[in-house]
Amino acid sequence: MVREITLGQFMPGKSVIHRLDARTKIVLMISYIVFIFLCKNFISLLIMSLFSLLVIMMTRISFMKYLKSLRVILVVIILTGVMNVFYGTGDVLFQWWQLTITTGGITNAIFVIVRISMLMMVSSVLTYTTSPTDLTDGLERLMKPLTLFHVKVHEIAMMMTIALRFIPVLLEETDKIMNAQKARGADMENGSIVQRVKALIPVLIPLFVSAFRRAGDLATAMECRCYNGGKNRTRMKVLLFTAVDLTALLFCLIIFSGVIVSNCFFGSFATV
């Protein structure tokens, strides 16, 4: 069960998107999130959706992988979609008891569903095409100015590297502990919510203990390899801002301005 989570899974490749500088991808990703929430009418939404599909195709990673990433948040998508149908203004289409379906509600629901799914798939583009080290390295470089305010940027980036590295390890460990507890007769599937939460305690305690033990080992291993914080550290892969990155930035700039232009000229439909 726990192994199906594809969070932070890097798939090596040689596509243009893979070759982009991690910093470019992070900046574009953040602006993408802003702009997909700025889409106020169907034309801008269409522009963004086509753009997302184009990017997904350019990664040369099978579309199924992206759909899989959606499956994890399927419940969230459906739930927010359904909620939005009932919260809207406009012409009433259907009314029963307290529930009213309006044209505005349906428009909102479509917007929310498309936005969340695109958001999820495009974030997957970032994690699928960027190696964890590049990703955290990119973040470290982008956050560099914060060192002026005494933020420990290198330490934060290192913690993220380690967290990403140990997600699969700890998931596997959880699986093992759960099986071990089941073999001892623990019942995790039945009973009330309270009972089931209580049944998780014998899973969480060994998990924490082992996580601390692993942390101790890892610290020893890092010390053995002369780790001394960010001071005088070099990198094997130096992030390089190239012409490809510039092209990508300009291209996205055009797309994003398209969204603003369409918002100005074609009015706004969505109220969310």
């Binding site: 080290t133 390890v169 020893t220 390899r225 550290r233």
Partner: protein
Amino acid sequence: MKEFIKIDNVYFKYDENDDSDIFALNGINLTIGKGEFIAVVGHNGCGKSTLAKHLNSLYLPTTGDVYVDGINTKDDDRLFEIRKKVGLVLQNPDNQIVAGIVEEDVAFGCENLGIPSDEIRKRVDNALKAVDMYEYRTHSPDKLSGGQKQRVAIAGIIAMEPECIVLDEPTAMLDPQGREEVMSTITRLNKEIGITIVLITHYMEEAAAAGRVVVMDKGNVLLSGKPKEVFSQVELLKRHRLDVPQATELIYKLKNCGCNVPDCVLTEEECAEAVFKLLKEKTSASLSYSQVRKRVK
């Protein structure tokens, strides 16, 4: 042989405030020569791992000194110099891999040392080739088998170009195939590149492959010598709750029964040959051992 590590009358206690006379290391003296392959054996709690952590100044002796290539491990200013010379590989391969991609993990040590990027690239490629993991360089470590992960961990140390690698039970968590992979990697590194190897292990078969075996007991050296010299003292080892390789034990028992066999054998091959000779004496077979060996294969 040039002296590389010198352990001079080292006592070590985990808890400084503990007043009892029980030491994890109990006045140990040992010298390790450059390019040597030594195996350290002993039962649980005899101080093997504690000793390993003294070799690259993770632990400092309570009294006594450890010298690595002439540098005292207590010399704080030269800490990184020592750790660059002596690399340590731990038991659980999962817990010593830092990055999410094989080659980036191997580069970790070099990055810490501040080596220029193109030089790191070269070293990482060479290290991965040395442990035969080059084709997995862009893989994620959690998709690899235990033996492969441990070889990646070894590559991470090799990339730092150490003169000595200390391995603290590197095969304890591996299946037989992984154990074999790791052992052949270690032996090759010792023979081809001349890296000094200190292998701490529970498996006597692995210890038999070393150039010298050091048997530890109660924080001190009980026996030290060539594998044959050490494993021929079956009685003494048994008294200290230690095993000898199965092949050695079989021949030892045959010898005790008055059979005409060599004094001490280490490998299964030697054992088979000895048993064959013994059987041949009793029967009138005319084949030689190598002929039979070929047929069996």
